[in-house]
Amino acid sequence: MATTALHPAAPTYRSTLYDWVTTTDHKKIGIMYVINSFLFFFLGGLLALGVRVELAQPGLQIVTDQTYNEVFTMHATFMIFLFVIPMLAGFGNYIVPLQIGAPDMAFPRINALSLWMLPLAGTLLILSFFTGGSAAAGWTSYSPLAQDRPLGAVGPGQDLWIVALTLIGTSSILGAVNFLATIFKMRAPGMTLFRMPIMVWTVLVTSVLVLMATPVITSALIMLFIDRNYGGSFFDPANGGDPILYQNVFWFYSHPAVYVMILPAMGMISEILPVFSRKPLFGYKAFVFATAGIGALGFSVWAHHMFTTGAVYLPFFSLMTFLIAVPTGVKMFNWIFTMWRGQLTFSTPLLYAVGFLSMFLIGGINGAFSASVPVDFAIHDTYWVVAHIHYVLFGGSVFGIMAGLFYWFPKMTGRMMNETLGKVQFVLMFIGFNLTFFPMHELGLAGMPRRIADYSSTAGWNDLNLAATVGGFLIAFSMLPLLWNIFISLRSGTPAGDDPWEANTLEWATSSPPPPYNFDRLPEIRSERPLFDARHGQQADH
């Protein structure tokens, strides 16, 4: 298993840099996705620290109101569009072809194109800081706030933001086309749809969401661009336009985008929990249908972000939003009963997976509050909502990403990561995360609005804000053991071997890191756990 007979055509000498920049290998592209995403994670994290330092106590200490608007806008933009979404696409890129026994993605060169659009878009966003200020209308960029008018978004920052997001969207769409063609056409013999690893299923559903939803935000961005630059009046009520139109088209993408940001992370922990519980995933098919259900329902709930506009039909969108909790609940049941009476090994990947479970549960429950229209009227645009999205996207997605990183790092590099450092990082991050975001529930209930740089010292929000700031620095501090861990593991980590976790899926049937085109030969695929079958004597005689 550890070697391969397949090599690309006789290599002339090329520098490593040239090799990586021009590669079409899904594994190298996947790793570059991950690295690029981490860079923007740290950049977005610095901006988040800017927010927390400003809010640590009442008054304006370090930034002006306008700068504060830029800081939280770019924090969300980096984290959503250049960290979580591409990070999961990166893991998908690396893992999906391996898990279905394919030599590469269906369109390797388009895959490279998808990757390289991301740093380009990121560069545009960073440049916007030096061209008179970045976008500052929030990551939602509602009209009229994002329009080119006094008290709106004057200057090129907003336009650069629109162009960058259109690029990122195009990258996502091409990536989704690639994933779907790969999953539908490139599966190894025996790898039927219902033998695919859950990770592949979640990437499949995610890709459908990206394919159907992302073009719609592209249309919204283009309308905004026309309004801003060519005298259009899509969102201008003075000329017959409608600002609510923007919100509808924007959320038609941006709600499904939430599932784009969580489903692959769910797929990751669904790979990890069975391996570290020494049991198969409980209710494989139920999990698949729940994933598809979340994807389908995801298109019918966008207007729950717009309850307070008075322009949407509240009972329908409230009901559909509550319905999302049903397939999500099915998944919680799957995960818990996968671990139930399993032989748990508390390695770092499992710790992060369990962290995902518990934190995402809170994120699900505090989100359901907002699904109830009367409650939403009270907590709309307060810190409750900030708490909710961070419990989902940090407690969920980031914990899932960390779990996936520790789980697949040995496959990607051939080296194990350090367990002790991993556990230290987990504890720091877990405490820091809850210290930052749990108080925000209380702040939201106490009426603190989101997106403000200053607040009254007599509002009673001082202590909780200070606690959140301390937590924010704890999260930042928890990145140090991670970076050190990656550094020393790359340099002198324990060699991993093909299958360090005794895992179930095909990526562990090849060497670590896998050779170009991945497989010399594949084990027989007769269930969703081909390696388990091979290890435990159910393999066919040859």
């Binding site: 055509a9 690639n178 992302t214 249309s219 509808n248």
Partner: protein
């Protein structure tokens, strides 16, 4: 195991070469990729169409009054838009004839039909540009309220897609004249023709919406 090794060993040039076509038959990767891409394009236009219906439904009267002339906006089917519509629909037929020709290995017929399709695409774009000039003279521009904004955004993005499709057809024509397509290998032709049909269907919807649907 022996069969697996054999399957890989038959590949001559690249280990992934054979996988561009699913050996079990069915739709080829490039054609599936194009269909998926068209799906995303449908959703892009759905967003723009939704915007059109939104402003139209909210307007007290449609088409609204042109502030320059004091009369309701009017879009003329003649002299340009009607003929342009007819030839664009015809081009879908010539495009399909090209596909059928190359499936029969009739390269001459294929090149002829693709050349006609490509030419029609270019003529359509020229007619659209001329129509834009006529409209601008009547005061219908991108900045003339929601009517002009939606009209030029919808038709403009359609025109951009015709442009993209014409580039694809140009590449297909060039490659066809270089002899790169045969009855066995012509995925690019199939994919480009699917895209061209899509562009045509979008125009039929747009034409019905903008020119045929009665005002209110």
């Amino acid at each position: 195991m022996a069969s697996d090794t054999h399957a890989l060993a038959t590949v001559e040039h690249s280990p992934v070469g054979s996988l561009a076509h699913d050996t079990r038959g069915g739709i080829s990767n490039p054609v599936l990729g194009m269909l998926l891409f068209i799906t995303s394009e449908v959703m892009f236009f759905a967003g723009l169409f939704a915007a059109y219906f939104n402003v139209r439904a909210a307007a007290p009267q449609w088409p609204p009054v042109n502030p320059e002339t004091g009369e309701a906006f009017h879009l003329a089917i003649l002299p340009l838009v009607g003929p342009a519509t007819v030839i664009l629909i015809l081009s879908s037929f010539t495009c399909q004839m090209a596909v059928w020709a190359i499936r029969r290995d009739d390269r001459v017929g294929f090149i002829r039909a693709i050349a006609v399709t490509f030419t029609i695409g270019v003529v359509f774009l020229l007619m659209q540009a001329a129509d834009y000039i006529l409209l601008a003279e009547e005061g219908i521009t991108l900045s003339a309220g929601t009517f002009g904004t939606t009209y030029f955004t919808l038709t403009g993005f359609h025109g951009a897609h015709v442009f993209g499709g014409a580039i694809m057809l140009g590449v297909v024509l060039y490659r066809g004249m270089a002899g790169q397509f045969s009855a066995r290998h012509h995925d690019a032709v199939e994919a480009a023709s699917l895209y061209w049909h899509f562009v045509d269907v979008v125009w039929i919807l747009l034409f019905s919406l903008l020119y045929l649907l009665p005002g209110k």
